[in-house]
Amino acid sequence: MAASPPDRRARNLASGRARFVDDAIPARGMLEVALVYSPYARAGVLSVDTAAAAAVPGVRAVLTAADIGGDNNLSPEAGEMPLLAAGSVEFHGQPVAAVVADELAAARRAADLVSVEYQPRPPVLGVEEAIALQSFHGPELELERGEPDLDPVSFGGVIGKGLAIAGQEHFALEPGVAWAEPGEEGEVNITASAEDLGFVRRGVAGLLGVPMSRVKVSCPRVGGSFGGKLTGALIPAGVAALAAQVTGFPTRVRFDREDEFRLTGKQNAAYAEYKAAYDESGRIGLLDCVVYLDGGWAVDRAPSVLRNILHHLDSAYFIPNVRLTGRVCKTNLPPNTSTVSGGAAVAALVAEEIVAEIGARLDVVVEAVRQRNFYGPEDGRGVTHYGQETGDLRLGEAWGRLLERSAYRERRVEVDAWNGTSRFAKRGLAVVPAKVGSGAPEAEARQASATVSLLPDGSAQVVCGEVEIGGAMRRTIAAFVEDQLGIGDGELRITAGETDQIAASHHGELHAEAVLDACRQLRERLRLVAYRLLQGRGIEVTDLMELRFAGGGVADIESPAEPVPLAEVVRAASAEDINVSATGYSSAAEILGGRTFRDFACGAAAAEVLVDGFTGEVSVLRADVVQDVGRQLDPEAELGLIRGAFLQGLGWQTCEDLVWSADGELLTAGADSYLVPTAAEAPAQFEVELLPSYGGYPKEPGPAAFCLALSVREAVRDAVAAFGKVKPGFALPAPATPEAVYFALHARGD
């Protein structure tokens, strides 16, 4: 039960006083936009006739690709990804034109009058079709270690299968929104709900054909993103900016939920085909796995996601011989992108499928197989397949703690006994580990800077590129400032989310690191000043390099009770012409130091489910999670973030189900048909514990927690097996919807 005093931010949010992008008071004459969507998944665009739409009263402009002055391309990685279709449409719902009008109703009426002549072509839908047609983006990725060509049979047992893994809609509660105001000198000011303002700036400047310095992007706060407002944010921002440039008026673009579903990429669906060899103890000796990712028709973040999948196919398990290959498939869907786990959960799902099957084939308890395969210091089992030491991975600790606090062994006995008495409903119990690399910024976010300014009263302000989403990174930044300078949260103002103040990049950890660097510089500059002030008060300074900055003052480490107020130090420094404002810098290269990841977050979870054999319905009775989040800044918040990410993972594996028509139209494009978990789907009992805090970095808890929801999937597998109707290694679809579970138990047509 949380019981901390609410802060102002939380109060404002709970009572609706906090303003999101679309809550801003509209500027006078704000224009509105309606988009014209492609009704085909793939077609040539022979002509676009906008005359009738342009004649509708109140319409200011009807924009097509021809109105884009710069480069009609949003792709962050490679290739073409036009904002407005040019020459052809490549997915159902692709924007072809944008109608700009005084009122939304007029814009929508006019959008219906834009006449587009299409020449439909057969679309490529789904990974399997793409493989058959060899329709790919970019080259194959490959990762190898050891001797993957060894005869798998020589290890003992061999398993293999193909596994289709569904994608996921981000479903941030706030739909995409942006507005743009044209400036007087050709510049454009954008307010957008976006995770990465620098990326939006670069994209918009490219579209408009103006220097990046002419584009300002700001964001008061984001109503959820989960990866959906990276490239996703560029669509409303790009259209709004273009409309503002063409009409000369401020313009707002606001997606409704269905637009959001149609237009934006999701987490990629994947297809994995693997062969794994294991010995009689259950240890995996070899893994040969090919992963195909549904990239959609253009390249968004799929290559990064694919790399991340290949880096996580080991999950928490040491595998001596591996060959992992991956391809991004080109299909006629929106360009797919990453979500919370960045692909790690797709990889972990495959790893758990393998381990579960080994357990079933050897007829040993699967958690023993899991544990036996863990990374560990002995026999060189501490190095990942990409050569990174797993070093201080606290997996064993998390695992032990989880088994203990979930009373796993006692409950295993109890569940098995109960299942013996219940014929039509079975309980399932499973415990899974997770290991997720942290601190690996994406390619385009390699560096960040931040400015920390000390004010004469001893308070401070920080300016950095961090955007307010959920407040997690702000707590890291505040903690760093308190550590280094002894300035508490109440004395600190963090100004963020404006490209005018900082060349923003979205990776939070880089911002925090830059703030840390700035704080260290300031400490260095104030050291001598503080020394002199302490001396002046007759305090002997033990060690000039070890002054204590705490509680708004600076003190000798031996006399912490007699500090000089920081305000005095700052004023004295100013009087001595010392700059009390410092700009810090950080880069990915520095954080990673040549490693693939800075370090690893890990954890373990136990889930218990009830499967109804009559219907295939699953209830999650209980979940226990233990996670290592590194340094804990706000344990209560970390616990909450873990629950949230776990539930997203649970949704991905149970009720969230993207369904397309045979023509490539998304049929589940709304809150009533795409079903994210509600409060009732959360585990009835849900306990989360953090391993004790330690120094160094906080590790983002979300990705590992998302992966740990696979405990629910594995518990469903356990329950399905308990019905005694399935063979070892049976295929459990992902997601395991009630229908999927039902037909895992009953033959179709049965």
């Binding site: 609410p6 939380a10 109060r11 949010l13 709970a14 009572s15 609706g16 906090a18 999101f20 679309d22 941030a172 509660l173 706030e174 984001v222 109503g223 959820g224 993103s225 989960f226 606001r254 409704d256 939920r257 109960w418 039509f424 409903a425 959920g470 997690a472 009830l610 109804d612 009559f614 209560e636 909450g640 973030l641 629950r643 949230g644 776990f646 539930l647 009720c655 189900d657 369904v659 049929l667 709304g670 809150a671 009533d672 048909s673 079903l675 994210v676 509600t678 409060a679 009732a680 789907e681 959360a682 009835a684 009992q685 849900f686 919807t737 009630p738 229908e739 039902y742 037909f743 009953h746």
Partner: protein, 506 residues
């Protein structure tokens, strides 16, 4: 006809003049800079736009009801009083549930929180004892992607505990309620586009309006007629709308001889409040029907006359032998409920006829000396998401046995599968006269599989739907194999959720 109307937002009178009848309350609020209610799905599915509507509870007492502002048009709130998240606090303080939410969720994006605070405030203001299941159920209409929902549960429990403590009665919104229930006022409004919105006071007036405007769209709560997916398209586009909300008779729940007579305008929430204990199937069905926000607006008559094939209400009413009172200018007629449906979203209502009431006869006496020794009832629903989702298949079963364990009466009713919810007469006939046991149940299960022609959609395949009809029947049997014994519970989950919320979490 009047060209404007008034309503109250946060106690302040607003006058809407000429405004389009299609304007949603949500749009109006946001245009008037009351932006706590968010526009996040536009279909009543996410709860981010929740506001409180001053309405009545099951006993007819004034009550605050959480509703989705995206599903109300402005004329629907004419004369009514709305409270938004911005104004739930009093005396410079936040509302107790907002204060509790702020303590319990200092993380997450916060976009959903104003709507959540409204949903939780409804429970707080309802001043009833709540079980843990009620606490969880109170926010199933509010989607959140950040928190995992635990903070909502914690916040409501904490606020309820606070309410139970010293001075708790004074906190909250009680002061904003009128001393006695105020009816919904009549209205005849014409907007700037010439669209008329009528809210007559009597059934006869409503029928006359229907006669005068055959093209008019009828609406009650507005959860499916006004927006949504009924085949006629959005009600907002009709030239005339007739709301039945001001007709007092339609909002009444009364005993009538040996039956309940439930007005067609009674909401699912009031129906369950009033009869959920007496008729457990009704309570169970209502818990699974949409979300609190939807149940607070959706009416029995609206649900029946829009005839969604997945209606959870229909199988339960069929199993209870419900009848439907239908009125037209030519007179009144009564139908058995299963005579009402004629096809997918089609009813036997003639042009100009409306449903005015649903009658639910008392079930036969059970016990010694009576023909019926045991009665078994059950409502079941399977949906892709367990809560706040449409049924893939649902079922209501009533089976009565004599003292020898022979079936004397059976009602086997299914929805979600075929074009409309229906009774399985052939299966019922097969069952009557048979001893209650596996053999008869299996024969009926086979029969049931073929009785409802199913179709496939994005929710489920036809094969699954057909299988579920039999599966639910077998589940019902398994739970009631030994008549007189308590039905088996789902591994304590139900027990866990039935615990009182405040005591459950000391």
């Amino acid at each position: 006809m009047q060209g404007d109307f008034e309503f109250l937002i946060n106690g302040t009178p607003h006058r809407a003049g000429g405004v389009s009848s299609a304007t949603s309350l949500l749009g109006y609020l946001r245009d008037n800079l009351l932006v706590a209610a968010k526009d996040a799905c536009g279909a009543g599915g996410c709860g981010a736009c929740s506001v409180l509507l001053v309405d009545v509870d099951g006993r007819g007492e004034p009550a605050m009801r959480a509703v989705n502002a995206c599903m109300l048009t402005l004329p629907m709130v004419a004369g009514r009083s709305i409270w938004t998240a911005e104004a739930l606090g009093t005396g410079g303080q936040l509302h107790p549930v907002q204060e509790a939410l702020a303590s319990c969720s200092r993380f997450g994006c916060g976009y959903c929180l104003p709507g959540v605070s409204v949903a939780l405030a409804e429970a707080y203001e309802g001043r009833r004892e709540l079980s843990l299941g009620d606490v969880v159920g109170q926010s199933v209409g509010n989607l959140c992607r950040c928190t995992g929902y635990q903070p909502f549960r914690d916040a409501l429990v904490s606020a309820l505990r606070d309410r139970a403590g010293e001075g708790g009665e004074q906190r909250g919104l009680a002061g904003h309620l009128p001393p006695a229930a105020e009816g919904v006022s009549p209205l005849a409004y014409r907007d700037r586009d010439g669209v008329s919105f009528y809210r007559p006071e009597t059934v006869v007036e409503a029928l006359r309006l229907c006669q005068a405007h055959p093209e008019a769209r009828l609406l009650a709560g507005g959860t499916s007629r006004c927006w949504g997916d009924d085949p006629g398209g959005a009600g907002a586009e009709a030239a005339t709308m007739i709301s039945l909300e001001a007709i007092v008779e339609l909002a009444e729940i009364r005993r009538y001889g040996d039956a309940w007579r439930v007005g067609a305008g009674v909401t699912l929430a009031r129906f369950a409040d009033r009869l959920g204990d007496e008729l457990p199937m009704v309570g169970e069905m209502a818990r699974r029907f949409g979300s609190p926000q939807i149940r607070n607006r959706a009416t029995l008559g609206g649900n029946l006359s829009s005839a969604p094939h997945h209606s959870d209400l229909v199988p339960v009413l069929l199993a209870l032998d419900a009848g439907v009172c239908v009125e037209g200018l030519d007179g009144v007629r009564s139908l058995r409920l299963d005579e009402l449906f004629t096809g997918f979203r089609q009813t036997a209502l003639a042009e100009g006829e409306i449903i005015t009431a649903i009658t639910i006869p008392d079930l036969p006496q059970v016990g010694e000396g009576a023909d019926v020794a045991h009665r078994m009832c059950g409502f079941f629903k399977v949906s892709k998401r367990g809560s706040n989702d449409r049924a893939i298949a649902n079922a209501a079963f009533v089976v009565e046995l004599d003292g020898a364990g022979v079936v004397v009466r059976a009602r086997l009713c299914c929805g979600g599968v075929a074009a409309y919810g229906a009774r399985a007469y052939e299966a019922e006939e097969k069952l009557v006269g048979e001893p209650w046991g596996r053999g008869a149940v299996q024969r009926v299960a086979v029969e049931l599989k073929g009785l409802f022609p199913a179709s496939s959609d994005q929710r489920a395949t036809a094969g699954y739907r057909n299988a579920l009809v039999a599966g639910l029947w077998q589940k019902f049997f398994t739970q009631n194999r030994d008549p007189g014994q308590p039905a088996y519970a789902d591994v304590g989950l139900r027990d866990l959720l039935a615990r009182p919320a405040v005591a459950a979490d000391p």
